[in-house]
C-alpha cells in the first residue's frame, strides 16, 4: 500500500516536472528550469525508495512483469536525463524525456500488482543482470531518440524550413496531449482486472469505460491541437534555435547513447542466452522477444556502420535513431502484447 502511494506520488511529480520543462523553454524561464530539476530530484528520490521497497518485498531484482520493468525504465530515464542535463546543460532534452518518464511510470503504476510468486526460473541473479542490462540499453536508446527528435527540429529551424518545424512541433504536442488525455480517461474508466484460466491478467472494459477513454483521448486531442498550434507558431522562428541545444551536441549525444545502448543490449542479449542455457538447456529458442531484440540490436549496429563508414552524421543518423526506437518498443512491449512466447512471465 505504501509502495503504491509512493508510485502515485512519483507519477504526479513527473507530470509536474514535464510541465515545468515545457514552461522553461516556452517562457525562457530560468526559475521554471531550476524548479523542474529540484522537483525531478525529489521525484527520483521517492521513486528510488519505492523500487527499493519492492526489491526487498520480492526478494529479487524488481524487474519482472510489466509494472516493475516500466517503473525501472522510467527511473532510468530520469536518472539519465538529470545526468545529461547536469553534464551538458541540454535542458531541452527534458521536453521529451520527462514526459516519457511520466508516461512509463504512469502506465506502470496503473498495472501495479501486489507481489506474487513468480516462476522459479526468475528467482535468479540472472534476472537483475539480464533485464537490468536490457532496460538500461532501452533507456539509452530512448535518450538517443529524444536527442534525435530535437535534432530534426533544430535543424529545420536553422535551415529555415519553418513549415517542417511547425508540423513537427504540432505533431509532438498532439501526441503527448492525446496520450495524456487517454491516460486520464483510463484512470477514470477503472476497468475490472481479473485473471483468466492461464493466469494472465485480463482487463474487462465496459462500454462506459470505452466512452470515458475515448472522451479523454478526444479532449486531449482538441486541447493539444490548440496548444500545439500556439507552440508551433512560437517555435517556427530564428530566435527559437537559441533555446534548443546545438546541432553538434545533439548529434554527439545521440550517437554516444547509441554506442552505449548497443554494447549494453548486446551484453544483455548474451546474458539472456547464457541464462536460457542454464534453465532451458538451449542458447536460443527463437522466442519473439529474443528475435526482435536481436533485430533492434542489428538495426543499431547498422546505424553505427552507416555513421562511421558512410559518414551518415546529422539528419540521416537522426532518422535512424528515431526509427530504431520502434524496434525497441516492439521488442519490449509489442511482443508481450501480440506475440506470447517463452518470455511470457506475467
Amino acid at each position: 500500500m505504501f509502495e503504491q502511494i509512493l508510485i502515485g506520488l512519483t507519477v504526479v511529480i513527473y507530470l509536474g516536472s514535464a510541465a515545468l520543462a515545457a514552461a522553461e523553454v516556452a517562457y525562457l524561464s530560468e526559475v521554471a528550469g531550476a524548479v523542474c530539476v529540484r522537483l525531478l530530484q525529489v521525484g527520483f528520490a521517492v521513486h528510488t525508495v519505492s523500487i527499493i521497497l519492492r526489491w526487498v518485498e520480492v526478494g529479487r531484482a524488481p524487474v519482472a512483469g510489466m509494472a516493475e520493468t516500466l517503473s525501472f525504465l522510467s527511473w532510468m530515464l530520469v536518472l539519465i536525463f538529470l545526468l545529461v542535463r547536469w553534464r551538458y546543460q541540454v535542458g531541452a532534452a527534458g521536453l521529451i524525456l520527462v514526459p516519457g518518464a511520466f508516461f512509463l511510470s504512469a502506465i506502470g503504476g496503473a498495472m501495479y500488482q501486489a507481489p506474487q510468486a513468480v516462476q522459479a526460473e526468475l528467482m535468479s541473479p540472472w534476472l537483475g543482470v539480464h533485464v537490468g542490462l536490457n532496460l538500461v540499453a532501452y533507456a539509452a536508446f530512448a535518450v538517443a531518440f529524444s536527442m534525435s527528435l530535437l535534432y530534426v527540429v533544430q535543424e529545420d529551424i536553422l535551415k529555415k524550413r519553418y513549415q517542417g518545424v511547425r508540423r513537427l512541433v504540432l505533431g509532438l504536442v498532439v501526441a503527448l496531449g492525446t496520450g495524456l488525455g487517454t491516460y486520464v480517461g483510463y484512470l477514470m474508466a477503472d476497468p475490472t482486472i481479473f485473471e483468466d484460466y492461464t493466469g494472465h491478467r485480463v482487463y474487462g472494459y465496459s462500454q462506459g469505460d470505452w466512452l470515458l477513454i475515448g472522451l479523454g483521448a478526444g479532449t486531449g486531442l482538441v486541447v493539444s491541437l490548440i496548444a500545439g498550434w500556439a507552440a508551433a507558431r512560437g517555435a517556427a522562428r530564428p530566435s527559437f534555435a537559441n533555446r534548443l541545444p546545438a546541432l553538434y551536441v545533439l548529434d554527439q549525444l545521440s550517437s554516444r547513447s547509441i554506442v552505449l545502448g548497443f554494447v549494453l543490449l548486446g551484453t544483455g542479449i548474451l546474458s539472456g542466452a547464457l541464462w536460457a542455457q542454464s534453465v532451458w538447456g538451449s542458447w536460443w529458442v527463437w522466442d519473439p522477444k529474443e528475435v526482435w531484440a536481436l533485430v533492434a540490436w542489428l538495426f543499431y549496429g547498422a546505424y553505427l556502420v552507416f555513421r562511421n563508414l558512410a559518414n551518415w552524421r546529422g539528419r540521416y543518423a537522426a532518422f535512424l535513431a528515431i526509427a530504431g526506437l520502434f524496434f525497441i518498443v516492439l521488442a519490449f512491449l509489442g511482443v508481450n502484447l501480440f506475440f506470447p512466447g517463452r518470455h511470457d512471465f506475467n
Binding site: 530566435s239 546545438a246 539528419r315
Partner: protein, 434 residues
C-alpha cells in the same frame, strides 16, 4: 503631489526638432540651476540624449509645466510655439511611470539598450552638483537606476542579439555548440566581415584563413586577424577545412556554387559548415542551403533573425513592465508616507510638551523630593506618553500608502491642537519652512 516631466522624444518629434532642443551636460546643468532658482520650483533634473530631452521637476504644481517649458526654450533658443505640438507633459503617477520606463529601457528606440542608464546617471550627477536635487528627486532618480538594474538582471530584454555580427555568433553556436578551435575562412574583405571575425575570435575560434583575389590584400587582412592568407584559387581546399565561412566579395556572380559545395561536403565527410554571406549581390548560391549539413545565411536571413530577436525583446518587455509597475507603486507609497511624518512628529511633540509642562508643575509643588525620586517621576511621565503615542504612530505609518491617510491626518489635526494647517503632500519635505 507636484512631480512632473516635460519633454520631447523620438516618438513625438522628428530629429530636426530634437537636435535643436538638445542640450549638452553643461546645458542641462544650467537649466536645472535656472529652474531651481525660482521659488516655486524645488528640485529638477534634465535628461538630454539623441532620442529625447526631458525636464523632471518637483515644485508648485500650478507653474511646473510653464516653468519647465520656458526654461528649456530659453536655453536652447527654440520658440515655445515651435515645439508645443511635440511636447508631452506627465504629472505624479504618470511622471514616475515614465521615468521608470525610460530607466528600464522600455521607452528607447532599441528596446533593452544599455546606454540610457548611463546617460540618466550622468544627468543626475550634474544636477546634484548644481544643488538642484533634494529628497524627492534624489530618491526618484536613485530608484530609477535600481529599476534599470532590475530590468536588466531579471529579464532577458537586453540579451538577444540585434547586430549581424552577434547574430552570426549565435547561429554558429547553434550549429557547433562551443566554437573553441573552430576554423574560420574569410573570402573577400570589408568592415562587416572584420566585425564578424572579431566576434568569432572572442568565442575562441582559431586559424582564420583569408582568401582574396588580391593576395596582398589577403595578407594584410590575415595579419590584422592574427590569421593567414590563403591562395584564392584553392577555394575548394579551404572550404573543406573551415567550419565557418564569411563571404564578402564585390563579385557580381556567386563565388560558391551548389555543385562546389556538394563536392566539398563529400570531401568533408559531411562535417557541418556554416556560411555567412553578407555580400550584395550574394556570393553564395541560395541552393547551397539545400546541401546536406550546409547552413547558409544571407543578408535577408540575418534581418529575419534580428527581427525575431527583437520580438523576443518585446516579450521580455512584458516582464519588465511588471517590474516598473511594482516600483512605481513602491515609490508612491514612500512618497505618501512623507506627508504622514510631519503629522506624527507634531503629535508627539505636542504630547511631549504637555508632559513636560505637567511634570514641571508637579515637581514645583513637591520641593522635598530627592533627586532620584524626581527622576523617577519624569521617567514615569515619559513612559506613559510613549505608550499612549505608540499605537497611533504605528497605525499612521502603516496607513501611509492608503488614500485614507489624508482623513486620518485631518482627524488628528482636528482632534488635537497641532500647529499649522493640514499639509499638502510634499511641501514640508523639500525646502525649509518659511
Amino acid at each position: 503631489m507636484p512631480l512632473a516631466v516635460l519633454g520631447v522624444n523620438y516618438k513625438t518629434a522628428p530629429v530636426e526638432v530634437r537636435e535643436r532642443i538638445a542640450l549638452s551636460l553643461e546645458g542641462c546643468q544650467e537649466v536645472v540651476r535656472d529652474l531651481t532658482g525660482r521659488s516655486d520650483v524645488g528640485e529638477s533634473v534634465v535628461l538630454s540624449t539623441c532620442n529625447r530631452t526631458e525636464v523632471y521637476v518637483f515644485g508648485d504644481s500650478l507653474v511646473l509645466r510653464e516653468a519647465a517649458l520656458h526654461c528649456l526654450c530659453d536655453h536652447t533658443g527654440v520658440a515655445e510655439e515651435e515645439i508645443t505640438e511635440s511636447i508631452y507633459y506627465f504629472e505624479d503617477h504618470a511622471a514616475i511611470h515614465h521615468l521608470f520606463s525610460v530607466g528600464g529601457s522600455l521607452d528607447s528606440m532599441v528596446l533593452g539598450e544599455a546606454q540610457i542608464l548611463h546617460q540618466l546617471k550622468e544627468s543626475y550627477s550634474v544636477a546634484e552638483e548644481a544643488g538642484a536635487t533634494g529628497a524627492i528627486i534624489n530618491k526618484l532618480l536613485r530608484r530609477s537606476f535600481e529599476v534599470g538594474k532590475r530590468v536588466r538582471t531579471e529579464t532577458r530584454i537586453g540579451e538577444s542579439s540585434l547586430s549581424i555580427a552577434s547574430v552570426s555568433v549565435d547561429l554558429a553556436r547553434n550549429v557547433f555548440g562551443n566554437l573553441r578551435d573552430r576554423k574560420v575562412l574569410v573570402v573577400g574583405a570589408g568592415d562587416m566581415a572584420e566585425l564578424v571575425v572579431t566576434h568569432l575570435k572572442a568565442q575562441g575560434t582559431s586559424d582564420t584563413m583569408v582568401a582574396n583575389r588580391t593576395y596582398a590584400r589577403a595578407q594584410e587582412l590575415g595579419e590584422r586577424f592574427g590569421g593567414r592568407a590563403v591562395p584564392y584559387e584553392n577555394l575548394g581546399d579551404h572550404l573543406t577545412e573551415a567550419d565557418i565561412v564569411i563571404s564578402s566579395t564585390g563579385a557580381s556572380e556567386p563565388v560558391i556554387t551548389r555543385s562546389t559545395m556538394e563536392e566539398v561536403m563529400r570531401r568533408r565527410k559531411n562535417r557541418p559548415i556554416f556560411l555567412i554571406d553578407i555580400a550584395v549581390p550574394r556570393d553564395v548560391e541560395a541552393a547551397v542551403n539545400d546541401v546536406y549539413n550546409a547552413y547558409l545565411y544571407d543578408i535577408d536571413d540575418f534581418q529575419d533573425a534580428v527581427d525575431s530577436n527583437l520580438n523576443e525583446r518585446h516579450e521580455e518587455a512584458v516582464k519588465a513592465r511588471v517590474i516598473v509597475e511594482e516600483e512605481v507603486e513602491q515609490f508612491e507609497d514612500w512618497l505618501s508616507s512623507l506627508s504622514v511624518v510631519p503629522t506624527v512628529v507634531e503629535l508627539r511633540e505636542w504630547a511631549g510638551s504637555v508632559k513636560d509642562e505637567e511634570v514641571e508643575k508637579f515637581l514645583a509643588r513637591m520641593p522635598d523630593l530627592t533627586e532620584d525620586e524626581r527622576n523617577k517621576v519624569s521617567a514615569l511621565a515619559h513612559s506613559i506618553v510613549n505608550k499612549i503615542m505608540h499605537p497611533p504612530t504605528v497605525r499612521l505609518k502603516e496607513a501611509a500608502g492608503d488614500e485614507e491617510v489624508i482623513r486620518y491626518e485631518e482627524s488628528i489635526r482636528y482632534l488635537f491642537p497641532l500647529n499649522g494647517k493640514t499639509h499638502t503632500r510634499g511641501e514640508g519635505s523639500s525646502s525649509e519652512e518659511e
